[in-house]
Symmetry: C2
Subunit: 147 residues, 2 copies
């Protein structure tokens, strides 16, 4: 019988919140990327589309700040959504130097389609952790996200 190779012990890492947070995020986002690829949308684009859908007419800087996205990255994100015909910049009524963000009709349809995917993905995660622990997890993650 060949000598059995003992398992590699990664216990020094699985006890770390930082490491386990990254591993869970990578695992979850593999599924998200796969689902969203069908629509050619990345997770960050989904977040922006969702926030514009719920807050039409807000300026670029307001939406960027709410999502904690840096200005240059945010401008590139909006450019990509505008090129795809999903969102558009219009002059803001309050300050014509800034841009108010709106979804197009195609953008609203895409958001509805993405939301159905997200519902399924979230249901899968909730099955893994147990329904009654969803609120606990969201609360813990919010505490870690606070500046």
């Amino acid at each position: 019988m060949p000598a059995r190779t003992p398992d590699v012990d990664i216990g020094a890492l699985t006890g770390l919140i930082g490491y386990m947070l990254r591993r869970a995020q990578i695992a979850v986002f593999q599924d998200v990327f796969r689902a969203f690829a069908e629509v050619g949308i990345r997770p960050a684009q989904f977040s922006v589309l969702t926030v514009i859908a719920h807050n039409p007419g807000r300026t670029q800087s307001q939406v960027a700040a709410a999502l904690g996205i840096k200005r240059t990255n945010f401008v590139a994100l909006i450019d990509s959504l505008e090129r795809r015909g999903l969102a558009e910049r219009r002059p803001a009524p309050s300050d014509r130097r800034s841009h108010a963000l709106h979804l197009t009709e195609a953008g609203r349809m895409t958001v509805r389609r993405l939301n159905r995917m997200v519902e399924k993905l979230e249901a899968g995660m909730i099955r893994r952790i147990g329904r009654h622990r969803r609120a606990v997890l969201l609360d813990l993650l919010a505490r870690l996200s606070e500046p």
Copy 2:
């Protein structure tokens, strides 16, 4: 009085595990990157160094599999650690075509220094979530990471 701009509502996102997981991971890793920059080490390099420290002599494929890192990415990671003089590949005694991974003395010193940083970072996270909820969070994250 100027018209007050209502806050941007991102409630449609903060109820999603996927979104909150990503936000928490980004917030936590900002601190990790800042701390590790002092030693010029990235989080993935820290994980590899830690696993080699606890499992000296394992092959590249064993360590890569335990960490869930793709082979090509893992080879590049080991290359970078070897160039820095922190880890080394030696022929594996059981199979001379494969490489056994070991830390150098400099690698062991770096791991000790990184561990002191990680202890502080983890203590900060535990303060945010409450000491008694650390085990709960680790368990929930492990469930989300399972393949």
